[in-house]
Symmetry: none
Subunit: 202 residues, 2 copies
DNA sequence: ACGATATGAATGAATG
DNA sequence: CATTCATTCATATCGT
């Protein structure tokens, strides 16, 4: 993860688009380095995590100066960035660096990506209480995922109660609102160039 | 999901379940194409948005012929579908003042059919409407809202938390469950409603 | 070339 | 309902 993977040539429509190979229905947004820079700045410096519709449009508009972009791209970017940061943290904090090249029992699927989901049925998950993580909104979910899965077969067979309603309600009383570690970064005012180089941030 | 997105392993053994690799194949519901088709049909053509408990059961029962499914899946599907349709609108507010130097055969960029309350024309009955393509978040809803027969939509949308409460808690008791009151839906043999090209709907 | 990885996109499931 | 989390699919890109 050190090597700042990805980061195509600086050329990618650098400026305000203009020429982007008319015809390449890449369908997939490919952020420019400037866009990435700004997004990370917003994420790490401003602390933006889950911008709402208005914010997204605002950000989107701003990034549009650096290349084609839509609101959904911004939305997904933050969504993914947060999720992956957490995932990474969760995995790292798990105590061991989980080396995928060995702990993969069987890949009962020809999934070419049998990685990153290696902790699926391990101990990491399973009713783990995930808490504490900086967040602009300061909330934390307690994911008490229990739900005895392992019920393969005979799914809708016996008209089980599921059909009648009641869907696994995990009614844990206290909502657990740990909002420690408030993200009080640079509330002083100017933080524009405060952070040295965002490029090297995670 | 226009191109060929998503559509994992063809586990979608059309309803006859039979065997599904009792391998904890993800505890999460994986709708079959037929189920999706019907759901979209209900959503776009019938105008179903927030089915109540009884309706959910009916729909669920009907979809069960095409694969394992539970009431909560139907419930969530409608929830999500509606929510996302809205969200897209929220994120798509961006003015598309982009230009393309006249080299744009396929428009991977021409969605945006912002309608919403745009009572589709005057006499475009027959509910069979087909919107062109519709890229991911691009979105394009049909808003037929015709239902000139068989009113399957929620009754006044009474917001009676029935569905929710019933699903979220195990209190579906208190009598009066959803019996098998021959509903309005023709839960009969085959489907294949000759509707529109729902597959291409958002 | 291929495989691993990073990351955009999509969507089921929850929670508030 | 809106917001968020978790998982998974799809694909661009890079290392060997």
């Amino acid at each position: 993860m050190d090597p700042q993977h990805h980061q195509p040539n600086e050329d990618k429509n650098g400026g305000a688009n203009g020429n982007l190979l008319c015809r390449q229905t890449s369908t997939r947004w490919n952020p420019t380095t400037d866009q990435i820079r700004i997004l990370k700045e917003l994420y790490y410096i401003k602390g933006v995590r889950s911008p709402n519709g208005a914010e997204i449009q605002q950000i989107s508009a701003r990034l549009r100066k650096y290349g084609k972009i839509e609101g959904k791209n911004v939305f997904y970017w933050f969504q993914n960035h947060k999720a992956r940061e957490r995932q990474k943290k969760s995995l790292t904090k798990d105590g061991h660096m989980h080396r995928r090249t060995a702990c993969n029992p069987v890949d009962y699927y020809s999934y070419k990506y049998s990685n990153r989901s290696s902790y699926a049925s391990s101990s990491a998950k399973t009713g783990a209480v995930t808490v504490g993580h900086t967040d602009s909104l300061g909330y934390a979910s307690v994911t008490i995922q229990d739900k005895n899965s392992c019920d393969c077969s005979a799914p809708a067979d016996g008209r089980n109660g599921a059909a009648r309603g009641q869907m696994t309600n995990i009614k844990y009383g206290s909502g657990a609102d740990i909002k420690s570690q408030s993200s009080s970064y640079a509330v002083s005012g100017h933080e524009q160039e405060a952070a040295a180089n965002i490029e090297t941030l995670p």
